[in-house]
Assembly symmetry: C4
């Protein structure tokens, strides 16, 4: 374990958790953000039930990917086993976020995918944002948070959804998770994007209840403007 890397990761994850609060995606002690070391052996995550106001970067908890606490005086977020399972199965993911942001939660509680209604959505998520199935009683009464991760993986595998192209999921009757191949900060940015997209879809469905989906070609165009080899949004493609 590289102590310097851990120290830096704790600071990064701490800042990302504060950003979650500043974006108003979490009240009280709700929500959590994690990051992972380069060797993908250790995850840093928010401690459970600690207030954003009093928390310092030193309160961040280090666990291994089997959910053992490696370095902390605190309990990690109860959602830790959901995070570790997603990291284990997705070697590219560098940050994961869970929030209770109200519009995204509402779609999750309603048990509905967020329909792709326009370019704001298409710029960021490839297709409707999926909502998982309900967990069974056995899954809930067993290793609940681990099983939540399993249900997410099951949904993506079964429906052939790519975690990089769809960096978000709604867990039914629970709420959203987002992730990023870049950083924990970037996963928080996606959590805000998801809430904005969930809000717009909510309004759209009320204005036009018959609306099913935006034009498929428009979806492809907008997603590929921002992602992949032919992307031309931003500065990284500067000739």
């Amino acid at each position: 374990m590289n102590k310097e890397e851990i120290e830096l990761l704790k600071k990064e994850v701490f800042e990302a958790n504060l950003l979650l609060h500043n974006y108003k995606l979490a009240i009280h002690t709700w929500g959590n953000v994690s990051g992972i070391t380069k060797d993908r052996k250790y995850m840093v995550i928010k401690p459970s039930g600690v207030s954003y106001e009093t928390m310092t970067y030193k309160d961040m908890v280090v666990v291994d990917l089997d959910n053992n606490i490696i370095d902390s005086k605190n309990n990690p977020s109860t959602d830790t086993p959901t995070h570790t399972l997603i990291y284990k199965n997705n070697p590219k993911i560098k940050g994961i976020v869970h929030t209770h942001s109200p519009y995204a939660v509402a779609w999750a509680q309603a048990g509905k995918n967020i329909p792709l209604f326009g370019t704001t959505h298409a710029d960021n998520f490839y297709g409707p944002v999926p909502c998982t199935r309900e967990l069974s009683d056995e899954e809930i009464n067993g290793e609940y948070e681990h099983n939540t991760g399993l249900v997410i993986l099951e949904h993506f595998i079964k429906n052939k959804i790519d975690f990089s192209a769809m960096p978000a999921v709604l867990v039914k009757e629970h709420g959203p998770f987002t992730w990023s191949d870049k950083s924990s900060k970037s996963a928080v940015d996606l959590a805000l994007t998801l809430e904005e997209v969930a809000k717009m879809a909510f309004f759209t469905q009320i204005i036009n209840p018959k609306k099913i989906s935006a034009n498929k070609t428009l979806q492809e165009k907008h997603y590929s403007r921002k992602h992949g080899v032919n992307s031309y949004y931003g500065q990284s493609n500067k000739k």
Copy 2:
């Protein structure tokens, strides 16, 4: 009467009232927060109709549980008899809050329980948040605020609802009350939680009008993650 305890309680209740305003759960002079002494003989509450901007902790009013003013130049909140009756009948409650937060008020005005649609709700309230019956004309024209308390008690007793497991109620055509076994500050935190849950339920019902309730096993799981002997959320259960 322990003067030092009263002084500290006035400060605590004052801060909790300010928090109500900072959480944007009350505009103008609306809403009120109270706390109680350890011997449960005296209650400290916001003065009636005093602005949050000009109020100091010395403006807080001390009453006994029969609603007699013990120490103050001010009238106490008009809702005082509702607060005292709840304290009298619930020896564990340490703080009570009344707000006019808009989503919770809307459910109260609609005369509907807030359905339990997901884990955000289940984490904090055990079952749907109940809405009382209307007061009769006699109850309104009699000791109105005392009778408001009686109607709350009646609802909880008749429906076998536990005040600790359900720290919130909607008074029909009026608005929400929340309480806490911990402190007045904690009761204000619950008032914010209630507003967030009321908002999410409002959105959920619009997205999926057929949705009745979340999975019962999920409710039990999430409530017990945060409450009771087997709770494992937060830091107090640290081994």
Copy 3:
């Protein structure tokens, strides 16, 4: 004309206009607040189309009740003739406010009274907040702003509504006006209350489309708690 009184009134009206902006009831240069001198000969009002950011108290415009500019380098608010007509016909009113706050405007655009659904409304407005009839083409093409005032008066007289008990109106397809027998500041406070009440009614109607009105006895009770000889809310009735 008492120059000192005018100077003080300009400052009061200026502060009340800023409050309108701080309460987020008006964006850009929208909305206006006025006050009146004790002899009820002069009205002070916001200048037309001047930004809240750059405005000073010296920009306030003095007019007489026939809408002649008495003292100003600026044009008064275009709504000036609506204000003066309300003052002329209501010798008790001390401040008037016009806003474009979105929920109140929505009820006005829908051409509907705001139903009295609960105590938040009943505490402040005696009965549903009325929406006027449409102006005729002749009224619009004639002295439009004066005729807007006439339509308000007509509605209150025809329906026997008291301006003190109902300090608000929605002008159809336009927006809200509020007023106060106390001050221009108090009229702005009522404009915020109206927006809050309009929002709650909007939510209530969505949750329960069959809801018509709150209990009449409850209305009477809450209005009389705050208004009239038997009021017992606040501090002014302190024995």
Copy 4:
């Protein structure tokens, strides 16, 4: 090319972009504002994908009206060809804005014009705010951003809509553009006005689903109060 003018325009366009962010019309790097030189040869626009927090006025990109980068280390906004086409075809327009503000986007995603329901709308936009047709697959896969501009022009020409009287459009399944004959700052102010009007129309339609439109005479009156030779709103018409 007048270097001093360009320098001033960069500062103006930079400030207008910040205002977009301060008005909360754009999160992350979303949205863009442009301005044009007096000779109408050069456009200054926000760089693509650069954060509002770190951006300085020197990051603004200068292009000619054929979308060639004239002076910048950055890529211009991907929407550049939409802006330049609108400038080319409208010699009076001095500033253009594109946002993803949620209520305006919702109407665009729903594929509906924003109905003119009242005076807030009529004060600023002459008639319903139009929503364009969908782009064809060929238009999307071809010069997409240029074609977006063409579809806007087509809609205005076909429906005989004047760009000065209707300084806004919704591009179907995408979002709003606004513009101004005064400045880029003024175009941002209109983007906020549009969002407010879109929100009010959304609420209005829910309260009264049968509402089609406000009175036509009222529309004319309010638009002409603020625009044209007989306008009497504001200070510029001061005698």
